[in-house]
Symmetry: C2
Subunit: 492 residues, 2 copies
């Protein structure tokens, strides 16, 4: 059947959606969510059908095309296109099987992950996939297969030989160890090509922070060049299409804030596998306000990471660290980058907790290579850091990736003071992160918080707990408004 194209002037952000009037849909016995093949003389594309009950949006005889579909078909409004019904993708059947408790094979998982990668599934279908996996669980075999499918449906960067990597499962503000561990490891002579993410719900991701110092978006070729010359890079993985299904799955997990273990494991391992890593250190922060709340959870996750690593031919080591309060003093891209530089330069302002954690992690990675004995790693890492070699390496990486022009901290500031005498008992990670985000982080790189007091510090009336930085007055006022209700510090 033929229809006249209407340009809906809307982008879905991925999914290929077309809209028919309800009367035309009835004629063709089609329902919302059905797949139809839309074609003109040169191109064709399979789309997901949406139905309009109003003539105003899409009249009879017309087909409303979202921007993504217009682009793929290379048509404009008024063009005549042909429409054919095609069945639902095979993957919908597999998702249904998983709902009924079936274990899925590699081929079945590949179908699903491939369709997610190419925006061929609706939100409802993706949600059933996540919910079914979450409740019925994924076994080790399925998680390994899902990881492989995620890698296969994305870009891979091949590096030969011993390749190190690290990952933190997140949730702790200020935790910028990557930007210290990478230069230490590379200065020790090992290859560590690091792809990082931007913040989703936090005030800064490693990619946002590194971007204060160097360019982080680059081609595969450029990355390979940087790593060949300097043994390391710190770049944004998002722009590289590594395991792209992962982000699209996270989109439907977010609305209910569910932590689907199988998805987490596959997500982390796929990103590492995509860059050829074979020795991987995983940091699991433990605390009341992070993903992992207690030792039983931590031990279970450690076991799973190691098992999956083994199946993928990776040497995986897992460390469980303190996730009860922010690491370092700065929260927000530029403030966190400054913390990192202080540690690299051995400056008096260097936060000791950040330095200590980074040395421990770098030491552990060094020992994993087999070139150093147990207990020796931390010592070697410290020597590299204190000698200035790590700083030098970081400068090489920055100039190879492309140095950024110097940024400035937000000019609008606000001091948050203590109003009683006592000790800091706890810092609320979520509140601290929220304040930094309201102040403008991570989009405004100079926005954020600088913590003067940490847990166990003694405080008295009038002491400064932290400063807030913002790049415009409106956002600072919003942050001040929020702080009136909650400072994020428990003092007694």
């Amino acid at each position: 059947m033929k229809f006249r194209v209407k340009d809906m002037d809307i982008a879905t952000g991925g999914t290929l959606v077309v809209i028919l009037n309800i009367k035309d849909a009835h004629k063709l016995d089609l329902r919302s969510g059905d797949r139809i093949l839309v074609k003109n003389s040169h191109h064709q594309v399979t789309c997901i059908l949406d139905i309009s009950e109003s003539k105003k949006a899409v009249p009879e005889g017309a087909i409303g095309l979202m921007e993504e579909v217009l682009d793929r078909l290379r048509v404009r409004k008024g063009t005549i296109v042909e429409v054919k019904f095609t069945g639902k993708p095979e993957s919908v059947k597999h998702i249904r099987d998983k709902l009924y408790g079936k274990h899925l094979s590699y081929e079945e998982l590949y179908h699903i992950i491939d369709d997610i990668t190419h925006d061929r599934l609706t939100d409802i279908e993706k949600t059933y996939f996540v919910a079914a996996g979450f409740i019925n669980g994924w076994n080790i075999e399925e998680i390994v297969d899902m990881t492989r499918a995620m890698v296969e449906t994305g870009q891979k960067i091949k590096f030969p030989g011993l390749i190190l990597d690290k990952h933190c499962i997140g949730g702790v503000p200020g935790n910028r160890t990557t930007m210290l561990v990478i230069p230490i490891i590379a200065a020790a002579g090992f290859t560590i090509p690091k792809t990082s993410s931007r913040a989703i719900t936090s005030p800064a991701g490693t990619a946002d922070t590194m971007e204060c110092l160097a360019k982080v978006e680059m081609s595969e070729k450029k990355i390979k060049n940087v790593v060949k010359k300097h043994k390391a890079c710190i770049v944004h993985g998002g722009s590289m299409n590594l395991a792209p299904a992962d982000d699209k799955i996270i989109d439907v997990e977010h609305p209910l804030s569910i932590d689907a273990e199988g998805q987490l494991l596959a997500s982390v391992m796929a990103k590492k596998y995509s860059v050829s890593a074979n020795h991987v250190l995983i940091d699991i922060p433990m605390g009341k306000q992070v993903k992992v709340k207690n030792w039983n959870q931590a031990k279970h996750l450690r076991k799973m990471f190691k098992l999956i690593g083994k199946r993928l031919g990776m040497n995986v080591k897992v460390i469980v660290t303190d996730g009860s309060q922010p690491i370092g003093k700065g929260i927000g891209p530029l403030l966190e980058a400054m913390d990192v530089l202080y540690v690299l330069r051995g400056a008096p302002l260097a936060p000791p907790d950040l330095r200590k954690k980074a040395l421990f992690m770098a030491g552990t990675l060094l020992e994993m290579t087999g070139k150093y004995k147990k207990g020796q790693g931390s010592q070697v890492a410290r020597e590299i850091l204190d000698s200035g070699k790590a700083y030098q390496k970081m400068e090489q990486i920055i100039s190879a990736q492309g140095k950024q022009k110097k940024l400035k901290l937000g000019e609008y500031t606000h001091l948050v003071k203590c109003t009683k005498i006592g000790r800091v008992q706890a810092i609320d990670n979520e509140v601290i992160a929220k304040i930094a985000r309201i102040a403008g982080a991570p989009d405004d790189k100079g926005a954020g918080l600088y913590l003067h007091k940490k847990v166990h510090d003694s405080v008295k009336n009038g002491d400064c707990l932290y400063d807030v930085y913002a790049e415009n007055k409106f956002k600072l006022d919003l942050a001040k408004e929020f702080i009136k209700k909650n400072k994020g510090y428990l003092i007694s």
Copy 2:
């Protein structure tokens, strides 16, 4: 923060959706799916946020409003509105709890059902609700509570005294017993206010079929009048807002064609409870191509229906019937209505299987009232039918609801002939239904199939298996095309 209204010229069909540019969303730390309160000086409404990455669709400083939101706020394009973040509805937390395996209380289920009724949940959230209930299961307590919540959040029609009702869980083409059972029961002096549905995936629902003879859309007041005068009605329930959450839940079940038992039970019982029914007969067709495939499934469902009925103060009787082939000869609204009239008039063309099933059901209902002894019901029903009293009653109901002008069968016809000698071993319900739908049913009331041969009939080369009727040539050609691949008859 203030925004300028943009009229998106799109209706969502329910959900209240507004769109912000991604840059504005970042400033306010908002994500897709977040709830925001939109208000002007007179009205306010809580909406679900969607995010536009393109300036073209929604530029910075603007807020795109769907038709439903424009109507509620009574604003036009260019108006300035204020936007505030509000948390997610309480019900999202309860859905999350169900994902984690918790049993939900009446209050929690009420929150969820109320939010579904009022379009306050996204498709993703509704899908998690259905998936969680499907996999983790609902216990009797929860199903009863869900049924009550569905009734409480919709319209109720109160009738006093002994109120009968019937329901078929569907899947069998031509199964129009309702239009025979209702006049028989009413002619026997009992009250039976019947609300029926239109076809969703079948060639005709009872409402579509009844509409060939009488008006089926009417107000609560009109229904009460008809029932007061004639003890019965056969109307479309959809227009009356009885347990409206049900249809909105079905919308997210359909994409994966899952049969969530708890949902089915709550759906059926809520519709009956909404019209004050206290004696309910439920027909479960059993067969390879319908919901219930075997005796174990049928017995389990029977037990559940009876248990829930008891908890709601209803006397429920369940019969398991043959669902292996179509009932009657006509498939499609007018053809099915003609079958019904043939039976009511005792015409020679009356399909014996439809007559027999209707008498059995009417007899069972009569016995449920306690006024007739076991075994007596069928006899009484037959007398009422054969005496013409049921036909007279049907004519009263039709004229009270409003007689329709006479319809005609589709003028484009096609005979499907048998090409070998043998017996009809099976008729494929799904194929027969599909052909009738392609021919135009249920929207084209005169479209459909008339079956000349049923299972066990002997056939020879050249015998007519069935006729196809369509109201336009294009649809008849489509149906002929389909029949070339599959006639829907197994003969050997």
